[in-house]
């Protein structure tokens, strides 16, 4: 029986010729990665008792959530992280100064690659699926086990295949593809999600990363894109020499196959507090007043996202009463944005360009909301209380919608600005 991409990657890492949905297998992973939240939270200190790691050379630790530290407890987390790295001989350690949101680091620094199996101490680890890897999130206990042994169990999940066709219209991006899927088909609980179809060639790698990262929000086990010419070009630009693409077998079995016509998409927005079956076209919410707008995160903090924002706000100004926070996903992206003049454009327009971290996304570092406030954000979650007060609201969108809305002070269809109607 043919296998999907996730089944193939799991089989290889379990040393098996094939696997099928329902199998429970033990896999050796290529990378176990975690960030500062592994060390920043009291009562989660299983790692302190660890005596040795079998494969420290396959471990990566990076600080991205609260750096530089927002509280003294976060600073202590940094101390614990550096101690752990030193004690166990972990050479793959990314400290403050060269930091990045971990999922961006995995992509830009060569950890994520086709065919790899990656375990991450963060729910959005599935972002690496944009690079044809099988990656998923684990809690601190499983990450501790993975750090020690380099392996863990997986239960093979059935796969939903999304076939993408055509090309996105102006004003739409990868985030809109995801919000459309989540709003139309709901969750993928208990399933992996894979993508195929001729439309993938028309999506940039950052757009694929945005979609893959967001698949955590529909409870996908893995979210995987195939390897095509565009991905190979991205990998070679990064310095990869040997690329080993994983493609699904022609007779792979899928729980469902769903076709998406990219040409027909419109900008989408997720309404407050949850995502599946709770997303609507931006035109349904036009005019809703905003207090804060955010562009950033593992979903939308990449250079092309910042270019989209700068293009829309250039020569204009953020609306009075709105805070527009723009957070690059890595120091390298930040530097690129400075060199391209994007930071200048953004600051002149009244945006707050911040340090490259998870920032506002997890409600722990900055940019929190007070009671009654409403935020439109390109980040990953809109849960009640996510950004502070449980009486606040977070809505999610793509960068173009965020930028257009920040300029107008209310939720705005970006196509109106892009088409020059405003």
């Amino acid at each position: 029986m043919g296998m999907t991409m996730s089944e193939k990657i799991l089989a290889v890492h379990a040393g098996l010729s094939s696997v099928k949905p329902g199998d429970t297998i033990t896999c050796k992973v290529d990378w176990t990665v975690c960030h500062d939240m592994f060390f920043n939270v009291d009562g989660q200190d299983m790692y302190k008792g660890v005596t040795h790691l079998d494969h420290p050379e396959r471990c990566l630790i990076l600080l991205d959530h609260s750096v530089p530290a927002a509280t003294s407890r976060d600073a202590l987390g940094g101390v614990y992280a550096r101690d752990f790295v030193k004690k166990h001989g972990i050479t793959n350690f990314i400290d403050v100064g060269d930091h990045a949101v971990i999922h961006q680091a995995l992509a830009e620094r060569g950890y994520a690659a086709p065919g790899r199996l990656i375990a991450g101490g963060d729910s959005h680890t599935c972002a690496a699926g944009a690079l044809n890897a099988a990656a998923r999130g684990f809690g601190p206990a499983d990450i501790t086990y993975l750090f020690c042994t380099g392996e863990t169990w997986y239960q093979v999940a059935p796969t939903i295949l999304y076939r993408l066709h055509g090309k996105l219209p102006a004003g739409c991006s990868g985030k809109d593809v995801f919000l459309y899927i989540a709003g139309t088909y709901g969750d993928a609980t208990g399933h992996s999600v894979e993508f195929g179809g001729d439309g993938i060639a028309n999506l940039t790698i950052p757009q694929r990363q945005s979609i893959a990262t967001m698949c955590a929000e529909i409870n996908a086990e893995f979210a995987i894109f195939p390897c095509d010419a565009a991905l190979e070009e991205y990998l070679r630009a990064r310095g990869d020499e040997n690329i080993n693409p994983i493609a699904p077998d022609p007779d792979a079995q899928y729980a469902e196959i769903r076709d998406i016509d990219l040409d027909k998409l419109v900008p989408y927005v997720a309404k407050p507090h949850f995502i599946p079956m709770n997303c609507v076209p931006v035109t349904d919410l036009q005019g809703l007043p905003l207090n804060q707008v955010v562009v950033g995160s593992c979903s939308n903090g990449r250079i092309e996202d910042l270019r989209v924002v700068a293009d829309i706000v250039k020569g204009k100004h953020v609306a009075p009463g709105v805070r527009f926070i723009v957070t690059p996903a890595s120091q390298r992206i930040y530097l690129q944005a400075v060199k391209e003049g994007l930071v200048e454009t953004l600051v002149e327009a009244g945006c707050v360009v911040t340090n490259a971290t998870c920032g506002c996304c997890y409600g722990g570092h900055m940019g929190l909301l007070g009671p009654g406030e409403r935020c439109l954000s390109t980040t990953t979650r809109n849960f009640k209380g996510r950004l502070g007060s449980p009486e606040s609201e977070v809505l999610l969108c793509a960068p173009a919608t965020a930028a257009a809305s920040a300029i107008k002070g209310v939720i705005t269809d970006p196509r109106e600005i892009i088409n020059g109607r405003i």
Binding site: T24, M46, D122, A141, T144, Y145, R381
Partner: protein, 164 residues
């Protein structure tokens, strides 16, 4: 493994940020427990008694890798049964030694305060008041081994990776 206890009922889409709110991330463990579900059901955490069982709807634990299962265990809950779970949250349940199974329709089986009997090996839950029994997923031997070790740290200690 069998559990018996008084049930608390929660609905669909209970996410990690409700179980383990952002302000609990920087709190001491006791305060983390107190803040559990404080945004959606203020005061509930103080009503939980040791051995109680949590019943929930679909997609319980959707969201972050933060270990909500650890908080639920520390609150004194003996275990939980939901219609369905986020996969990452479910792994946290097993690895933090918090027994959990999925049983479709369980959220409609109980009234709050009923007594549930759960057989983890058989994957069943029974309402003692109504006599109704439903079947869900059986825990694999590997999962039961982890639960019986008290969580993944117990397994690591037994394998010589950890001073517990």
């Amino acid at each position: 493994m069998k559990l018996e206890g008084r049930v608390w009922i929660f609905g669909d889409e209970i996410n990690t940020d409700l179980i383990f709110p952002h302000n609990a991330l920087r709190a001491e463990p006791e305060e983390q427990c107190r803040l559990c579900m404080s945004d959606n059901r203020p005061g509930w955490s103080s009503l939980v008694e040791k051995g109680d069982i949590l019943i929930a709807g679909s997609n319980f634990g959707t969201g972050s890798s933060r270990p909500g299962a650890l908080i639920l265990r520390r609150l004194g809950l003996a275990g939980m049964v939901a219609d369905s779970y986020n996969g990452l949250f479910y792994r946290n349940c097993i690895s933090y030694g918090f027994p959990a199974i999925g049983v479709k329709g369980v959220s409609k089986m109980f009234e709050e305060g009923d007594i549930a009997v759960i057989d983890l090996g058989e994957g069943t839950i029974t309402n003692k008041r109504t006599g109704e029994t439903r079947y869900g997923n059986k825990l694999s031997k590997e999962m039961i081994d982890i639960l019986e070790a008290g969580g993944i740290d117990g397994v690591l200690a037994a394998k010589g990776y950890m001073n517990k």
